[in-house]
């Protein structure tokens, strides 16, 4: 199969590693090969965190500049920082509570490269559901509304259900569903 390259980014403590885990388990569930390269160690100390994922038939784990099929960012500025990874005609999904995403210069960059950008106030959505630390799940739910290969939203949801710790399962699914439904009504910014 063709390899799908994914970049997940955000800040330490936002749960990038758990997001990575959701993708990895979803891949395993479908019998796909997957390699992920993660940032650990200082991951909870608020610094920039990035996870590279290659799903398909990769040998190496790092996504090359200009080759990511899509990017999911838990923080607006981190999405700007990692734009060089994104391929032309690809998609980016960004958590933005400001409603100001993207800034003008980024907008012209995205247009020039025909990159479609989708934004959701994911932290706010998670917070309103009483899950202020679950921006990561909101972003997975949001992006799942756009039918990116190779996982269906049903497969992602099922994975969240399967790997969430029991005490968070119900809330995680609620955050996922809310953000998914929100995504259904959104077009590119």
């Amino acid at each position: 199969m063709e390899t799908t390259n994914v970049i997940l980014c955000g800040l330490g403590g936002q749960g990038i590693l758990f997001m990575t885990k959701i993708f990895a388990h979803a891949a395993l569930g479908k019998g796909f090969n997957i390699i992920g390269a993660e940032t650990h160690g200082m991951a909870q100390r608020g610094g920039s965190v990035i996870s590279h994922l290659k799903i398909g038939d990769p040998e190496s784990s790092l996504v090359r500049a200009g080759s990511a099929d899509f990017l999911v960012a838990l923080e607006e500025n981190e999405s700007y920082r990692n734009l060089p990874f994104v391929a032309s005609h690809a998609r980016i999904y960004v958590n933005s509570d400001s409603g100001k995403f993207p800034v003008a210069q980024v907008k012209s960059f995205l247009q020039a490269h025909e990159i479609a950008a989708y934004a959701a106030p994911a932290s706010q959505m998670a917070g309103e559901l009483g899950a202020s630390l679950s921006t990561n799940l909101a972003m997975i739910g949001f992006y799942s509304a756009f039918n990116e290969k190779p996982f269906t939203s049903g497969e992602l949801r099922e994975t969240v259900e399967r790997i969430s710790p029991e005490r968070f399962r119900e809330l995680n699914l609620k955050v996922f569903d809310t953000a998914h439904d929100y995504g259904k009504s959104q077009g590119p910014v």
Partner: protein
């Protein structure tokens, strides 16, 4: 049950590289493991720690890597399969034990895992520990993938037992922290029960015995060479004339690049997984089948220099290159683009790298380094020391742990750092030769690791400095492992002792010792002033549990978060002096994110208008 203890082999398991290594060792009869935590190796031992609580495995967090190595050495010489796990610089600490353990050898398999960190994602240097294999005369294995790491670590235990010598197992961050699916084999955890057969003529390394043991080690190395020649970990792919010799993750980048450049019919790849001793005959034969050879290895030219020497012995004059300004660098880690470009340059393939998106119009995003957490007690201690030392010329040697992050503004509380324990060891000299007031910082775990000898030396030599021991009740930076000073109730475990830092410091002869609670800012400042006025060695022990760790502790009460009230007159001391990440600017005024704030109340104590108050309960 711990997920790595499953015996269901019907399906692949998705694991982190470090989990794969742990599982691989447990499938290969591991019974005993010891470590000092260090990224990128930490999750191997974290899994062993958890697994030891529900299986026969013996595991311990030792005070430092040297002790871990010695523990593993004794267990392996009592017939118990063992592992010592550490990061690359940890092996420097353990090297004293390892270099002579190489002479003594082992009875049961002993694998020494060194997790190297090219690019220094979380380390102070990027030394290439392959040279330890050469220095010690030890076999070394290096995996290229998560799956191979799992298989290879078990083989390493077997090779160690077969040759009766410790085996070095070298990983890099990209193996430790990659995720991939692996197949499982049956678990085979050994029992940590052995028998020590006394044999002082082979175990007590006085000079006369060591002279004989060195001969034995060289004999073992000869046998290791035979194993390396036929090892499946040293394999050749392709039949072309363009040779590429590679190891570790470089092999993956090379394989991807061969596909991308469409040169599979021209290339011949020698992947080295058994890298000390090298398979001399295999390499020589490989060179003869090639008309040029590129060596792709991260770090130093370890393979390259050896390959060139082999070529010289065979009087071969083909072009062999690796580290070169147009090829590979000795710096940092590689990636697929670097490998592709170097291969194109070396083999003269026309190749234009895909244009990297021009982001010059996109506003530059400032680097966002890791930071002390919201409510971290280290921030409070740094602030208090800074205030207590106002008006003095100060030097702040620091050490390795979360508190190293205090080096950035606005705290700026770090002036010198080279290794674990150097805050204490360097303090006396800075004080002696500069006459400045020296205030050093060290964490609880680092103090036990290598701070104690420096302090003993300082007391004996009558140095003049203040050591601040930041005791947050855990080894925080590497993921909250225990250390000899912690209360193991926090891990819900019994059967452990506990060492009081205060007792250690006093019994070393330090005359001025004060314990402070750093979240009480004014009291702390007063105590620190007294300590730095003291002539001689003074110690401040700053006790407050790590805020991240506290989230999981029942004994720590949750505090209310704080908010900035309308009394704020916008002095911004809170923002400018503390740099707490819970603060943000809302319409040019400081505000506090209630989700991040943990209620440490340090900002409330320094606000000149008393404008920061706890959030009121909802009615």
């Amino acid at each position: 049950m711990h997920k790595l203890l499953t015996n269901d082999q019907s399906k692949k398991m998705m694991v982190l590289g470090n989990e794969a290594i742990a599982r691989g060792a447990l499938e290969a009869g591991l019974a005993f493991a010891a470590t000092y935590p260090g990224t990128p190796s930490s999750e191997i031992s974290l899994n062993f720690f958890q697994i030891s609580q529900e299986s026969d495995l013996y595991f311990e967090y030792s005070a430092n890597e040297k002790v871990a190595m010695e523990m593993a050495a004794a267990a392996a010489n009592s017939g118990v399969r063992s592992m010592a796990i550490m990061k690359h610089v940890g092996l420097n600490v353990a090297a004293d034990a390892l270099m002579t353990l190489a002479y003594v050898g082992v009875k049961a398999g002993l694998v020494v895992l060194t997790a190297d960190d090219p690019f220094m994602f979380s380390s102070q240097n990027e030394q290439d520990n392959r040279y330890y294999a050469k220095l010690g005369g030890l076999p070394m294995l290096e995996p290229s993938s998560v799956e191979e790491a799992k298989e290879m670590v078990g083989q390493a235990l077997g090779i160690s037992e077969q040759l009766q010598v410790p085996v070095l197992f070298r990983t890099t961050t990209r193996i430790n922290h990659s995720t991939a699916p692996v197949d499982l084999k049956p678990l085979n955890i050994g029992k940590p029960e052995g028998k020590f057969d006394k044999d002082p003529m082979n175990y007590v390394t006085v000079p006369a015995i060591s002279r004989r043991l060195h001969v034995k080690l060289l004999e073992k190395l000869e046998k290791a060479k035979e194993l390396s020649e036929t090892s499946p970990f040293n394999f050749i792919e392709g039949t072309g004339k363009w040779g590429i010799i590679c190891s570790g993750v470089s092999y993956n980048y090379v394989s991807d690049a061969v596909k991308d450049l469409g040169i599979g019919d021209k290339t011949r790849i020698l992947r080295i997984g058994f890298s000390n001793p090298l398979p001399e005959q295999k390499i020589k034969a490989f060179l003869k089948d090639c008309d040029q050879v590129l060596v792709a290895e991260e770090g130093e030219p370890f393979l390259e220099e050896a390959v060139k020497a082999f070529a010289q012995e065979e009087a071969l004059t083909l072009k062999i290159k690796g580290k070169d300004k147009d090829l590979f660098s000795r710096l940092y880690e590689f990636n697929p683009a670097i490998a592709r470009q170097a291969m194109a340059n070396f083999f003269g393939i026309p190749y234009t790298p895909p244009a990297i998106a021009d982001t010059s119009d996109v506003p530059e995003i400032p680097n966002r380094p890791p930071n002390l957490c919201a409510g971290c007690s280290h921030r409070a201690t740094f602030y208090a020391v800074k205030k207590a030392a106002v008006g003095r010329n100060t030097i702040y040697p620091t050490d390795i742990g979360c508190y190293t992050l205090g080096f950035l503004p606005p705290l700026s509380m770090a002036d010198f750092l080279i290794c674990m324990g150097s805050s204490v060891g360097t303090a006396g000299a800075f004080s002696k030769v500069t006459g400045d007031k020296v205030i050093s910082f060290i964490g609880d775990s680092t103090f036990f690791h290598s701070g104690i000898p420096g302090l003993a030396s300082a007391v004996f030599n009558n140095h003049n400095f203040t050591l601040v021991i930041l005791d947050n009740g855990t080894t925080a930076m590497t993921g909250h492992q225990p250390n000899p000073g912690v209360q193991m109730d926090d891990w819900k475990l019994d059967g452990y002792g506990r060492v009081s830092i205060e007792n250690v410091v006093r019994s070393l002869g330090v005359q001025h010792v004060t314990v402070i609670k750093p979240l009480k800012i004014n009291k702390s400042i007063d105590a620190i002033k007294e300590a730095i006025d003291y002539q001689g060695v003074s110690v401040i022990i700053s006790e407050e549990v790590c805020v991240l760790f506290a989230k999981g502790l029942e004994r720590v009460k949750k505090r209310k978060s704080f908010r900035v009230t309308d009394r704020c007159k916008n002095h911004q001391d809170c923002v400018k002096e503390l740099g707490c990440p819970a603060f943000y600017m809302a319409d040019d005024r400081p505000a506090i994110d209630p989700v991040m704030c943990v209620g440490c109340a340090v900002c409330a104590q320094i606000c000149p208008e008393n404008a920061i108050s706890p959030v009121k309960d909802k009615a």
